[in-house]
Symmetry: C2
Subunit: 311 residues, 2 copies
């Protein structure tokens, strides 16, 4: 089944200990869509400016990503500049120009109205809710958020969380959203806010999934948390987009499967880690544009070997 993603398509200027790139294609929806495209078909809802040319468009179309929902506005695309010179774990933002993204009002093409899998990337929770309501056929909704929305737009965020089946955030965001420092208690608190499952990403240490009642349509069953490892990498060239690529691999795999079972969820987390690990090996979307499913599955197998007792 195809996935519809709403989020940013942007240009990024990035500096890391490995070098720099000026105005490379970026944005949460971009990384998500590319990563998910190796598993299922993907439709994008986003806005770009006139600086988005045929060259950028071809990055999506080469992966058969549907751009019917990509609005072309007059003005410039969202631009972000940042560096990872202090830490590869956290970007230092040098500049954010919202540009056409400041007035983003997502437009849903008629051809998207049958969307069953919806990913709400990290944007204003008011827009996340609006898109979710515009796509009532969506039967599995997954979403991301960040510190800014948690701190300054909490009420809007709390309205969209019950609409999410799966919320994907990182450790810091989980602490902020829950007000709890213990990870397990933080997760339990967040599950009371609406999402039926929570994935907390730990960067180089992988991710942990927590399950509330109802996610597997079996309210009686209790499910342990699940720990998904990350691949030890020789070099992290550019961490930008790792989380969105994780989300794309995770959700893309789920959408490609006949049903969401605990086993599918666990395998999806492994595919999330795999896609994140590819992204950080090169700048921007470079690595994510030219993968094969065989490479992806080979890395999935490595992830299994490094974490399983009887591998």
């Amino acid at each position: 089944m195809s996935i519809t993603v709403v989020g940013s398509v942007a240009f990024d200027s990035i500096t890391t200990p490995s070098g720099s790139r000026e105005r490379c294609l970026g944005g949460a929806a971009t990384y998500f869509a590319l990563a998910a495209s190796y598993f299922t078909s993907v439709r994008v809802v986003a806005v770009v400016g006139s600086d988005f040319t045929a060259a950028e468009e071809s990055v999506f179309t080469a992966r058969s990503i549907d751009l019917a929902g990509l609005e072309r506005a007059s003005g410039k695309s969202f631009f972000w500049a940042g560096n990872y010179l202090t830490s590869l774990n956290e970007a230092k933002t040098e500049r954010t120009d919202l540009n056409v993204f400041a007035d983003f009002n997502p437009q849903i093409p008629v051809s998207y109205l049958d969307a069953e899998f919806l990913f709400l990337a990290n944007i204003d929770p008011v827009l996340q809710l609006r898109v979710r309501q515009a796509l009532p056929a969506a039967r599995l909704v997954c979403g991301d958020t960040m510190n800014y929305w948690i701190n300054d737009h909490r009420e809007a965020l709390l309205r969209v969380l019950p609409q999410m089946d799966v919320l994907l955030i990182n450790d810091t965001e989980a602490r902020l959203l829950s007000g709890e420092s213990n990870p397990l208690r933080a997760a339990r608190r967040i599950l009371t806010l609406g999402p039926r499952a929570l994935i907390v990403k730990h960067g180089e240490y992988g991710a942990t999934a927590y399950f509330g009642p109802g996610i597997f349509h079996d309210p009686a069953e209790q499910h342990h948390p699940f720990r998904s490892p990350a691949l030890p990498l020789e070099e992290v060239v550019d961490p930008t987009g790792a989380g969105d690529s994780f989300a794309g691999g995770f959700y893309g795999y789920i959408a490609s499967q006949p049903a969401l079972t605990p086993a599918v969820f666990r395998r999806a987390l492994f595919y999330g880690s795999v896609m994140g690990s590819f992204t950080v090996e090169r700048f921007g979307t470079e690595r994510l544009q030219h993968l094969t499913r065989a490479e992806i599955d080979a890395r999935f197998e490595v992830l299994r070997q490094i974490s399983h007792l009887d591998a």
Copy 2:
């Protein structure tokens, strides 16, 4: 096979968000010995003062731990006071009184001379080397160290590392020892310093093992790193001794097995995580004194379920 451990037996005064304990039994050798005692017989080499009474002794003897190598010196035992009020991940030391430990010169009883498994807990690397040389029959040597020895006694440390089959340290120590911030490159560098395997502990995120040639007596074979998860815990009452308990579970399991294979090493890491998770659930050694192998194996099974795709 029995394990011989050299390290500290101490009294700790501990404050955490859950409360306080005054002068409870502690020390690396204590936690290690108790944790390992659920898997194999354990012999201790350490020094205590006259404040070490029958009450403390009974904690060891109740677990059949051999104290023939426990020297009774005149004076007071090693004393440490610290708190975890700022962070459960790092102790803030309030006081360290070395007392009789300041002149510790490990005495090896004749009954220990057949020791095949030796654990060098976190003490002066000069003493670690001396004990290792006093026990030439030891065929598997595992050891710990800490920032202080890495920074201020590096030469002595570099002399003992080639004597270790397995070095157990944490992320910060791995960065310091290697001078590398990338975890995989840090591990490779450390493996060139002598140990045939390296375990890097990540606290709440588990641990990663890295293997050099020769650890499994098969120099041709390349082994992937192995990621061992930690159990998500509702409450961490007292983190003191978690690392030494991890080491005890890890090494105790290995010593209980007929041979060190990759599968045994992986299972040993899981048992390490299990023993660490018990320790932090109560103050000091409280939880570690009264476990059963059935409880331990049940938690091992949970750890498998939370990390395996087909659990």
